[in-house]
Symmetry: C2
Subunit: 558 residues, 2 copies
């Protein structure tokens, strides 16, 4: 089979204006083209759709992943194409890739095999410039903070309590912890600081939750950028920086439209981290897709304990979006890994490990059905090495769950390989009404919200935190942030906070190490375990292989 980039470079793309018109009924005049195969959709046009009915929303999530990922994006693309193949008017909504993994280890995020979005290279590189706009807005605010302090610090920033970092869209460990403002009076005051990767910026989370330009601007103004010596918060609005930030984000906020290899519409817009942020594409893109399609397939980050929970409790709660069903992506490989098999031996049949590992899938299915109230379909992303015995065992072990299991071959076959999945999803939506619910209510205390997530979804026995953290949570509760939802940052590899605890661990303790207020994004980040907001590059980064060949064609991107 050819490589992803070879498949993508041989794609027969249609002009995006034709895809928009034929598949979505959107005329050229409402599009801002970026080249011939990418476009942004005008916000005025989106406003004009308000009275249309919404299509049906399908969430693609996954079991606790292995480091390679289980194929959520690929499955989202495959399911979208398959729905179109069986005669449904369907779109997909994805997150935008970050350059960190592209040049680091994981590669691009435009799907794989015959289930990709194109133009793959553009999408994985600068795309329509949204991430650069977000980085600039973030860094303008940072420059305004240090500039304000330099010119007199009228707002009274405590230099030890500045809560706003700069960002860059690059894996660059040397920038994690730095000292800025060195070199004397003209360069400001020296202080400790650091850079995050752009997907970790609160601006990214705000961008993805904003429902309009004015909502965006209001949220930007609310960002808490630091504190005074007596610990009073200082906001971006106090620095008068939110207007210029909104100006930088104005064009970026328009949802991006591209196409799948099978020429179906794909909205790719926004890409917040799935740990310290909510890990879903923009509300504006999802809402637009729902106005223009009968079915919309979207993905959330990491596994169903993290990404799907945040999709439900943050994205849907805030925006009013209501999904009709969830697809949970699993691989036989990953289930064997959860059953104790070694990462290097996942291509060997291992019924024993599989049998044990199914517990991970079962926990996620139960969570989706019982705690999110969604009908659920299990999509087995098929690998060549999967054996009949393994697939049979899985069916048998899962038979008592009301969650159909469908083996999918969209990676190798495109939409055709996911037609059974498409039929199953349509069927379950038709027959099983969604009983959508949140994991906790708005008015529950912050501590109880964390406890609800940990005990209901993670199987934990309790939530712990030292008195300093408890004090911070109490203070947030008393300062009027008690109605905010929780955004848990923990490892994606386990239901616990220990990435090595595979399968479906129970009775563990969830320790809160740190709490952060995201006042503009309107959630409280609860950090459990070590969380990296600036990744590093591996010894041999992908960047070494990425190149232009003698014909100017990109090679080595995957």
């Amino acid at each position: 089979m050819p490589s992803d980039i070879e498949i993508a470079q041989h794609a027969k793309m249609r002009r995006i204006t034709d895809v928009a018109l034929d598949k979505l009924g959107v005329a050229d005049e409402y599009l801002d083209p970026y080249g011939h195969y990418m476009a942004k959709i005008s916000l005025d046009y989106i406003d004009s759709l308000a009275d249309r009915p919404d299509g049906k929303l399908i969430l693609v999530t996954a079991i606790s992943p292995t480091p390679a990922g289980e194929g959520k994006t690929t499955t989202t693309v495959g399911l979208g194409d398959a729905l179109n193949r069986i005669g449904k008017k369907a779109s997909i909504c994805l997150r935008e890739p970050s350059l960190g993994p592209v040049f680091g280890m994981k590669g691009g995020a435009a799907g794989g095999g015959y289930s990709q979005v194109v133009p793959m290279e553009d999408i994985n590189l600068h795309f329509t410039g949204d991430f650069s706009a977000i980085a600039l807005a973030n860094n303008l605010l940072a420059a305004l903070i240090d500039n304000h302090i330099h010119h007199g610090n009228e707002l009274g920033f405590d230099l030890r309590r500045i809560a706003w970092k700069r960002v860059v869209d690059m894996n660059d460990r040397a920038l994690r912890q730095i000292v800025v403002g060195l070199g004397g009076v003209a360069n400001g005051f020296p202080r400790e600081d650091g850079f995050d990767i752009v997907v970790a910026s609160e601006v990214m989370a705000i961008f993805c939750l904003a429902t309009s330009i004015s909502d965006l601007k209001n949220r930007l103004a609310k960002i808490v950028v630091g504190y005074t010596r007596d610990q009073k918060p200082i906001h971006a609005g106090d620095l008068n920086g939110h207007g210029a930030m909104a100006v930088l984000l104005k064009n970026a906020l328009k949802p991006n439209l591209v196409q799948t290899l099978e020429n179906n519409p794909a909205f790719i817009h926004g890409g917040p981290f799935a740990n310290i942020a909510h890990g879903c594409n923009s509300v504006l893109a999802t809402k637009t897709a729902l106005k223009l399609s009968d079915y919309v397939v979207t993905e959330a980050g990491f596994g169903a304990d993290l990404g799907a929970e945040k999709f439900v409790d943050i994205k849907c709660r805030k925006s009013g979006l209501r999904p009709q069903a969830a697809v949970i992506v699993a691989t036989i490989r990953a289930l064997k890994y959860h059953g104790g098999a070694d990462l290097k031996e996942l291509n060997t049949e291992n019924l024993d490990a599989l049998s044990k590992g199914v517990a991970n899938l079962e926990r996620h299915v139960n969570n989706i059905r019982n705690h999110y109230g969604l009908p659920c379909v299990v999509a087995i992303n098929h690998f060549t090495f999967d054996t009949i015995a393994e697939l049979d065992l899985l069916q048998k072990k899962m038979a008592h769950h009301e969650a159909p299991i469908v083996v999918c071959r969209h990676w190798a076959e495109g939409g055709k390989g996911a037609e059974e999945l498409a039929h199953t999803v349509v069927d379950i939506i038709d027959k099983t009404p969604s009983d959508f619910r949140f994991v906790y209510e708005d008015d529950a205390p912050l501590w109880d919200k964390v406890t609800a997530i940990a005990t209901k979804l993670y199987g934990a026995s309790e939530v712990t935190a030292d008195s300093k953290i408890r004090g911070q949570i109490k203070k947030l509760q008393e300062s009027g942030y008690g109605h905010y939802p929780i955004c848990v940052a923990k490892t994606q590899y386990s239901f616990s906070t220990d990435p090595k605890l595979r399968g479906a661990p129970s009775h563990h303790e969830i320790n809160i190490r740190e709490v952060r207020l995201a006042a503009g994004a309107e959630f409280i980040v609860v950090i459990c375990g070590d969380m990296m907001t600036m990744p590093g590059l591996p010894k041999v980064p992908s960047a070494n292989a990425i190149d232009l060949d003698e014909n100017g064609k990109i090679v080595g991107l995957f």
Copy 2:
């Protein structure tokens, strides 16, 4: 008169595809649109133009400027429109604006009044993403350097001799001098570092001098990123980062096309600093414009001692471009300033100050005519406060120079206000053959090249440097860089290195404070006086006023 942004927002723009077809004969299929009013031109199409004859190239430069600038961009736009008005097929070539001045003090760089390029807001903000691409390519290389050291440092970098900084497109003084790599083993080795503004990146200079994708890649590989303990250079190519950098720059390298308020074609591409780099738009854009137009008007940075010299000795020398004439922009205000008038009193008639200040203009005219060998027209960018007596005095004082003086009103009147200038320029090109020459020859020693610039153009008596700097110059000469041109970084406000020495100072000393090798850009930067590669924001930055109004319209951008 309405503000620049009000004029720009009321512009009657044509679709850029129509401008390209009607004015340049470029069909839609060779354009990558960015919205409906900006486009990039395909490099394959540009290659196909190789056999066409070139149009005539006109350089717009200026006297030594006041801090507000004398209106080079505005005059370039006005002259371009005027040439079209008198029936010539003309294009203009400008540099892309940087966000530093936009959010800082100086404002945008898309012209002014009725001589602007549009869409003004997009051009001044993200435009087509070129600066972000350049920043990312620059920062990828930086990350690869620290990553290489972290993972074993096989190339043997001396941590004290790393010669590559990170960049951001923001005025951010806190980043001028920093310490990176703090926080322990996982974050690499602590070392001193700093950020430059993106226009100061060597990648920007390379981007603007590259003649093709393969030339770009070769130049990127040649960048010297640091030295070993025994002072052997280490190149970007040794880190295997140039391929991925070229991939990031692939789309950016296509020249951008927009239009003037009068719907004439404007190429806006690249924007290197005019001090530590050469301050001209890209070679590719200028060459493309010359293939598609009979007249091409372009600008260089700062005054004619800096920008025009680098245009001649770096851009033209390297690319084979040959201008036919120069226009030198002056204002009565600035000439009075050079004659000793106070900045606050430039709107008052002052014949005495004007009479003295003309010396600055005379020196620049002599330089252009005698040392660059170009016919020269003086464009007086008219201000309401200019008096008849002042304009008459100027004419009289300049009468003995063979450089016609034309008063221009393009700021208030658009192209119509520069028609006399257009006629004069066409006339001088027709009647006065250019005797174009360089200020020094390739094979002159580096020290002699600096001396030639300083004594011939600046009126200096000598060039000085302490023995350490002399040693560095000697080493560069011996290491095979002796044939490179010189890029002088000094204040733009004076022929000397003292910004307060106005007019036409003579017999001063030019002291070289620092020497930098730009091996990829292929020039030697000679820094005389204090040079800032990361500006700071003023106490009340423009960012405070830039906002979106209730209709989502940008306000406060100027």
